[in-house]
């Protein structure tokens, strides 16, 4: 079967657009976070570069690009240089499976606003989110520094404590939508968002993605109070920038996924779907920043305790309850 050239062109255009939007949003999320944290602390935040400081991300970019790219002499050069990309690329790739708007009808064909509508989309997300932690683990290992190593060890300990509950909290969504395909999950929420059926799963997922994007209160791998800067202590210049931007891309992507799984994706009244989707994703970003401005950091034994003894059992019970409910109402 010959692929349709128009379709290929459209997919490439979508990829380009998504990359542009995501990277710009991530840069402005850094700015938004600095401003919001400043307001929370009764300060003003960056307001010097351009009107209201809106050009601050550009200034940051220039600064990061012109800084020296240092590799510690005792470090493992190849891994050290690769690790930031390993952290940032899975975050960007995850967005490929997110449906970010209602399908367009152009020239008689249906064009889904989603880069790849895989039938195992949800599994791909789980897989990519585990790969992303390699960047953290290897970056810390290759730096050959005790703080970086401690940070990456914590990153791994954190991974095993939230991954399970994150996966389990998504199972009810799959049970309700009867598909791993993200567009099906969104379509299943056309009438009623899953958060109404599954508030518990939503809360478990929310806590897990907070841990996944290494944000306060779960920013143990970085923990600037204890570990200097954790796994990226030894990084400088744009390599540090990649870790940093990867983290913010992660926030946007995970916010988008949370919206997709529980808040009906791009479904919403009146406004076009694409606005609903981005509105919901950015609302999650705001929530993350707001939480960062409020809560203290947990100890990592507390996080593991919380993940294994609270979140995972809760998610399991929730799955059982959902199964029973589907069985009794004849949904199964």
């Amino acid at each position: 079967m010959m692929p349709d050239p128009v379709e290929i062109a459209f997919v490439i255009a979508k990829i380009g657009m998504v990359l542009f939007v995501i990277l710009t949003l991530a840069a402005y999320l850094v700015y938004a976070e600095r401003r919001l944290l400043a307001w929370i602390q009764d300060r003003k935040g960056p307001n010097r570069v351009g009107p209201q400081g809106l050009l601050q991300p550009l200034a940051d970019l220039v600064k990061l690009l012109t800084k020296e790219d240092v590799c510690p002499p005792a470090g493992d050069r190849w891994l050290f240089f690769l690790a930031p990309a390993m952290a940032a690329i899975p975050a960007i790739m995850t967005f490929a499976i997110v449906p970010f708007g209602a399908p367009l009808r152009l020239a008689g064909r249906d064009l889904p606003l989603q880069v790849a509508d895989l039938n195992v989309g949800l599994l791909l997300f789980m897989a990519l989110s585990s790969i992303a932690v390699y960047g953290v683990a290897l970056g810390g290992w290759a730096s050959n520094s005790k703080y970086a190593l401690l940070g990456s060890l914590r990153g791994l300990a954190q991974l095993i404590s939230y991954e399970l509950s994150m996966g389990l909290s998504l199972v009810p969504a799959v049970m309700l939508a009867r598909s791993f395909r993200l567009s099906d999950i969104v379509a299943a929420q056309a009438g009623c968002w899953f958060i109404l059926y599954q508030p518990l799963a939503f809360v478990v997922f929310l806590v897990s993605i907070l841990a996944e994007c290494k944000r306060i209160p779960f920013d143990l791998p970085e923990a600037e109070g204890e570990l200097v800067a954790g796994f990226h202590t030894e990084y400088s210049g744009m390599r540090f920038g990649l870790f940093f931007v990867g983290e913010y891309i992660n926030i946007i992507v995970l916010g988008g996924l949370a919206a997709t799984f529980f808040l009906g994706g791009w479904h919403g009244p009146v406004l076009p779907g694409i606005l609903w989707f981005w509105g919901k994703a950015l609302a999650f970003a705001f929530l993350f920043i707001w939480i960062r401005g409020t809560l203290p950091r947990l100890r990592y034994d507390q996080l593991m305790h919380f993940g294994w003894k609270v979140l995972t059992p809760l998610a399991l019970v929730n799955i059982l309850a959902t199964a029973w409910w589907l069985f009794l109402t004849g949904g199964a």
């Binding site: 400043a38 307001w39 602390q41 009764d42 300060r43 003003k44 707001w290 939480i291 409020t294 809560l295």
Partner: protein
Amino acid sequence: MRVVDDITAILTGLWTTLKHILRRPVTVQYPEEKRTPSPRYRARIILTRDPDGGERCVACYLCSAACPVDCISMQAEEVEGGRRRAAWFRINFSRCIFCGLCAEACPTTAIQMTPDYEICKRDVMDLVFEKEDLLVAHGGKDARYNFYRHAGIGVTQPRGEGAEERPPVDVRGLLP
């Protein structure tokens, strides 16, 4: 229930920070907005003059001795008529910590602190202020005080003619 308490605590915290987002920031945007410090603020140091226009400083070295970072130096000299003054007087503001001990030590209220806090220079040597830079044409915080009216006996006026000074007693007249 502990869980309920914990969740309430988290929500209370979130509510508090949300309120602060809407509050006016306390930041002072320095180069555009300038605060007026209180008159007692301790910044750039001046050497004042007495009401008659004479230099108050008598080069007694007390300020220099009191200074914890040793940033005041001077040399004393005596002019005709017996008044003392500093031949040169130098304060190195790159070392000064603006503690105000010099002003407290000065017996003549010559050296005083002012609220002018904007002393920044490109070159550190520009922060070394000489006597010409320090000397001002007014009396600072106390315009009326004149050291030589109260002390420095017989230097600027004959004995017994200073303020609050009684004519000298002829001790021989006290003999029985």
